[in-house]
């Protein structure tokens, strides 16, 4: 049985013990309070790593598997009223990080809501709802950088979605990602995208990395409609976009009970 540790993201050596974390958890009544509490206590605790629990197909068996992760430090918050629909955020996101242009894998998603709103098109559905064919409201979808339990991260059977310093963004580790797309259906807000067909060679999942705390999309937005702000939990105020799979990777199923 491998050691289960809590570490500061990006620096597995700087760790504490499971006992310490369990103690913190027991002090809290609810998960919400727990999350606030860890921040308030300022332990610098960001990640709960799990190793050796029947890891299924992890490409890096020797690395610990993150389960509990601390909150992100920042997030991209969109202001639809200000969005002028230029999609410079989408092109910048991909081009300045990956050197190609491909809005379909951008981590900020404007096009899909632009013409007919979040609700999408319906027959005769023009000039009624949101979007350019309606009232011009254009909603830019951004990753909520969910708090634990992070749906995409826990769903990934390969442990490929990791929490990365300096801002604790939930990031796809492309060396572990096999492009299976399980995370894509796990995200309630449909914020991940595959760069190619499912499981094809070179297909990788793309999700928002917060660009180390200086997001390209925020820099690119010509109307200040995207802002990089301290993290807050927006999962409750933004309705889900899809019925998420609710999948939890087999290797960590059953571990929730260890803390809760």
């Amino acid at each position: 049985m491998a050691d289960r540790r809590i570490t500061v993201a990006g620096d597995p050596k700087d760790s504490t013990t499971i006992e310490k974390v369990t103690e913190i958890i027991r002090k809290q009544v609810t998960r919400r309070q727990f999350l606030k509490g860890t921040g308030a206590l300022g332990l610098g605790v960001t990640t709960f790593y799990l190793m050796g629990c029947g890891s299924s197909g992890s490409s890096a068996q020797d690395e610990p598997r993150q389960v509990f992760v601390a909150n992100a430090l920042g997030m991209i918050v969109a202001e639809p009223t200000l969005c002028v629909g230029c999609r410079r955020c989408e092109t910048s996101c991909v081009a300045y990080n990956q050197g190609i242009v491909q809005p379909s894998i951008a981590n900020v998603k404007v096009s899909r809501n632009q013409q007919f709103g979040v609700a999408g098109v319906t027959a005769n559905g023009f000039q009624r709802g949101d979007g350019d064919f309606g009232n011009f409201r254009s909603v830019q979808d951004t990753c909520r950088q969910c708090a634990h339990p992070v749906p995409c991260q826990l769903a990934c059977p390969h442990g490929a979605i990791e929490v990365v310093a300096p801002v604790n963004a939930r990031v796809v580790n492309v060396s572990k990602c096999i492009g299976c797309g399980i995370c894509v259906s796990a995200c309630p807000w449909d914020m991940l995208s595959l760069s190619g067909p499912v499981r094809a060679s070179n297909t990788k999942s793309n999700k928002c990395t917060l660009c180390n705390g200086n997001p390209e999309c925020v820099q690119a937005c010509p109307s200040g409609a995207l802002k990089y702000l301290p993290w807050s939990d927006r999962t409750k105020i933004v309705p889900p976009r899809q019925v998420a799979s609710g999948a939890i990777s087999p290797d960590i199923q059953g571990t929730c009970g260890k803390c809760h």
């Binding site: 009223t81 200000l82 969005c83 002028v84 629909g85 230029c86 999609r87 410079r88 092109t91 910048s92 991909v94 081009a95 300045y96 990080n97 990956q98 050197g99 190609i100 242009v101 491909q102 809005p103 379909s104 894998i105 096009s111 899909r112 809501n113 632009q114 013409q115 007919f116 999408g120 098109v121 319906t122 027959a123 005769n124 559905g125 023009f126 000039q127 350019d132 064919f133 309606g134 009232n135 011009f136 760069s195 390209e216 925020v218 820099q219 690119a220 937005c221 010509p222 109307s223 200040g224 802002k227």
Partner: protein, 797 residues
């Protein structure tokens, strides 16, 4: 494809056979894409004698290498074809922005060539490399909004649709193709209609390569953005603001403290939108994050009511300069149309010239405009840059005099009545005005009665009537039908002048026509730096809508500074268009400081024309680029004339400098010249086999009103029906005052000899022959256009 930017594949669809084939883009690389590609396809495939609506005509949706790359202002598409609005159906292009072009690139296609004619209405569905021809029976007869929504229900909310409305279906010459709600390509709608093609829906999930490394590309984009101004590259704010050295009351950089997008929820204050050298504490992270608020065109175009009703500024893919005014006018709901409408510039007033404003209502102007826009963007009716509408207004109001009627050889009964009264059947006049003679007063509830009262519902009758194009099977409202009226309006001024010569008279001889030549509109001509604007306008077969020179003339900087900057660009050997003698180029004293032609003016004219073709081929927005000036004081307000070449090089990896790219642009313009000469020569020979085209005389024309005065006893040679009539004969007083003298005071009147000199100097810049206005054999060789010589040997000097 070895280069970035291009996808490497062009889609060809033959609607007659249903064949869908793929071609390699590389064979068109020398022409970039857009109009360049369109001209080459027409040259290679469409023989003279083909008409615009023949199945053999090609409709080329030309998208260039920069589209979709995220470089600023790269959302554009050029749609090239034989042009149904020109009297000889010479080649021309309509251009649209929006998101359709980038989507096509992401689907893996550089352009689409459409040919043939489908047996029944169809639409084309493109999902990445899956291309199918679909049945459009359910869509035909519907407007563009419904067609788009229907196609998106099939393809997904994020599919992009370019469609025609009833205007294009009914072969209205003044019709357009629209995408993304409000982005229209003028004049080409009826070609889709003639091919039974309702729409092209595109969804693309693929990627484009950028040759430059990502850091270089990111830094370059930020540099580029920092040099941009507001719409039309205006680089100073409209009002005096503490951060700015200059301001100009004509500026479209309207953002200001206390100026809001008033209909946003909550309202958005534009505030100071500074340049990058003057960051304010509230700008986050930088002034680049407020470029999109700089151009408040709602306020710019409609004043205070415009500010009140603006939801936001909208626009094309990748463009930080938002020029489409998204409005919310609740009052429109009482007429049963959406309160939400958007467009820009003339797109907001396509049919407002057909009616009056209601002086009692301060919101009348914007309400009429948004009604116009709601209808025209659905029916797909084209503005003709206002020319058809000025002709309509004249035919509606101008009472023919005895001298005019005599000069035009019209029946004496025409005297004392308007052209509509003279030309429309009694039954139609009755429908339109409420009485069989079309005399005033009109019945209040008739279309013309409503129009004169400034009631926007007038347009709800007039637009469907006009777009029905005389088809009696398309009753509009209460079974109204006015086939003669509808055809007259919808065919456009050039074709109408053939039937009603008084329209040709008006356009050529009357100052208020604002026509340039061949019955098309003047669009940034003589009022934009005199001969620089005028001479470039001669070179196309429609209103040229060239903004290259316009994006300098209106930039808002002091004129002597503009002249200095232009002299740096065009007298010091930096451009292939150059005047080594260092003559003055632009005005220095006032915006109306007209002065005789100089070689420097010719150099800037040539560069202006070539950059239009470059932009329409790359394809980037010519309403905002090039960046020949900038808002940056540290650069002395210089821009960077090599930005187009830099963007092209970084994207494609095909490294060219400014002169290299200009040479490609000159190649494209010169091919267009040869193409036009070839078709025009055919048209002239058809009328008279002994004729041979002389482009200088037969094509590079200027309307006579730009030279003539009240009482002039001479005029230019006849240029079609209703022309060649001196003002002394027609008694025309819609002309420059008899006291005007060219190049004195603020008189805009031009001088024929000076313009002829201007042609000489301009042809010299292009390497075209002075006598014929045709590219010389040496020029064709130098530009890689040797193949032209074999096709039109007798036309090459």
């Amino acid at each position: 494809m070895q280069y970035g930017g291009w996808t490497g594949k062009i889609l060809r669809i033959d609607l007659s056979t249903g064949a869908i084939t793929t071609e390699d883009t590389i064979k068109y690389k020398d022409y970039l894409g857009g109009t360049g590609l369109g001209y080459k396809v027409l040259w290679d495939e469409v023989p003279p004698g083909t008409k615009a609506w023949d199945p053999e005509n090609r409709l080329i949706f030309g998208v260039g290498p920069l589209v979709g790359t995220g470089a600023p202002c790269t959302g554009r598409v050029s749609i090239t074809s034989l042009w149904p609005v020109h009297i000889d159906e010479l080649p021309a292009s309509g251009h649209m922005g929006g998101h359709w072009g980038p989507e096509l690139k992401y689907a893996g296609w550089d352009s689409i060539i459409i040919q043939g004619k489908a047996a029944k209405p169809v639409w084309i569905k493109i999902v990445d490399d899956k291309v199918t021809i679909e049945d459009a029976a359910r869509l035909w007869g519907n407007g563009i909004y419904r067609a788009t929504a229907e196609i998106c229900t099939i393809m997904g909310s994020d599919a992009r649709v370019a469609a025609i409305g009833q205007a294009g279906e009914n072969l209205v010459r003044l019709s357009c193709v629209l995408c993304d709600r409000s982005h229209s390509a003028g004049g080409v709608g009826s070609i889709m209609g003639s091919k039974n093609l309702k729409a092209i829906g595109v969804k693309g999930t693929g990627s484009l390569k950028i040759a430059a490394d990502k850091k270089t590309w990111a830094d370059y984009n930020k540099k580029f953005l920092s040099m941009m101004g507001a719409n039309n590259q205006i680089v100073v704010p409209r009002t005096k603001q503490p951060w700015a050295e200059y301001y100009n009351s004509g500026s479209r950089w309207t953002a200001d403290k206390g100026l809001y997008w008033g209909a946003a929820t909550p309202p958005v204050e534009t505030g100071y939108c500074t340049d990058v050298e003057h960051p304010l504490p509230v700008d986050c992270p930088s002034p680049l994050n407020k470029i999109g608020l700089r151009t408040h065109k709602g306020y710019g175009d409609f004043g205070v009511p415009g500010a009140k009703y603006t939801v936001k500024m909208n626009g094309c893919h990748s463009c930080p300069i938002r020029c489409h005014i998204a409005t919310d006018i609740p009052a429109l709901e009482q007429y049963g149309v959406s309160r939400y409408n958007q467009n820009t510039c003339i797109g907001n007033s396509i049919v407002t010239g057909l009616m009056s404003t209601n002086s009692a209502d301060p919101n009348s102007s914007i309400t009429n405009a948004m009604m116009s826009n709601n209808l025209c963007d659905d029916y797909g009716f084209w503005s003709d840059y206002g020319q058809y509408s000025r002709c309509y207004r004249w035919a509606y109001t101008h009472v023919m005099t005895a001298a005019e009627v005599a000069a035009l050889g019209l029946p004496a009964s025409f005297v004392g009545k308007t052209t509509f009264q003279n030309r429309l059947p009694a039954a139609e006049l009755n429908t339109l005005s409420g009485n069989a003679t079309g005399a005033k007063p009109y019945t209040a509830t008739s279309p013309w009665g409503l129009a004169d009262a400034g009631n926007p519902s007038a347009l709800q009758i007039l637009v469907p009537l006009i777009c029905a194009n005389g088809k009696t099977n398309q009753p509009v409202m209460n079974n109204l039908s006015t086939p003669v009226f509808a055809k007259a309006v919808s065919m456009g001024p050039a074709f109408l002048a053939k039937e009603w010569p008084e329209i040709g008279f008006f356009n050529n001889h009357c100052y208020s026509s604002n026509s340039f030549k061949m019955n098309f509109a003047k669009h940034h001509s003589v009022e934009t730096f005199g001969q620089i604007g005028l001479l470039q306008s001669m070179l196309w077969s429609r209103d040229p809508q060239n903004h290259t020179h316009c994006n300098v003339s209106g930039c808002g900087l002091p004129l002597d500074l503009i002249n200095t900057i232009m002299k740096e660009l065009f007298t010091q050997g930096k451009s292939i268009f150059n005047d080594p003698t260092g003559s003055d180029i632009t005005f220095v004293a006032s915006q109306t400081g007209y002065k005789p032609m100089t070689p420097g003016m010719a150099a800037m004219t040539a560069a202006s024309a070539v950059h239009l073709e470059l932009h329409n081929s790359l394809t980037v927005c010519n309403y905002t680029l090039p960046v020949w000036v900038s808002p940056l004081k540290s650069l002395g307000y210089r821009g960077d004339a090599s930005l187009d070449a830099q963007t092209y090089s970084l994207v494609t990896g095909d490294t060219v400098d400014q002169k290299g790219l200009e040479t490609i642009g000159l190649r494209i313009l010169t091919l267009f010249r040869a193409l036009t000469a070839r078709y025009l020569d055919y048209a002239m020979k058809k009328a008279d086999p002994s004729k041979k085209v002389n482009m200088r005389n037969d094509y590079d024309q200027v309307a006579d009103w730009m030279f003539d005065k009240v009482g002039s006893t001479t005029t230019g040679p006849a240029k079609g029906p209703g022309t060649g009539i001196p003002n002394s004969v027609s008694g025309n007083t819609d002309a420059y005052a008899a006291t005007y003298v060219p190049f004195t005071g603020s008189a805009q009147i031009m001088d024929r000899a000076d313009i002829e000199k201007g042609k000489d100097l301009l042809y010299d810049q292009f390497g075209w022959d002075r006598a014929t206005g045709m590219p010389t054999a040496a020029t064709l060789t130098r530009l890689g256009l040797d193949y032209v010589k074999a096709v039109i040997p007798t036309l090459i000097p």
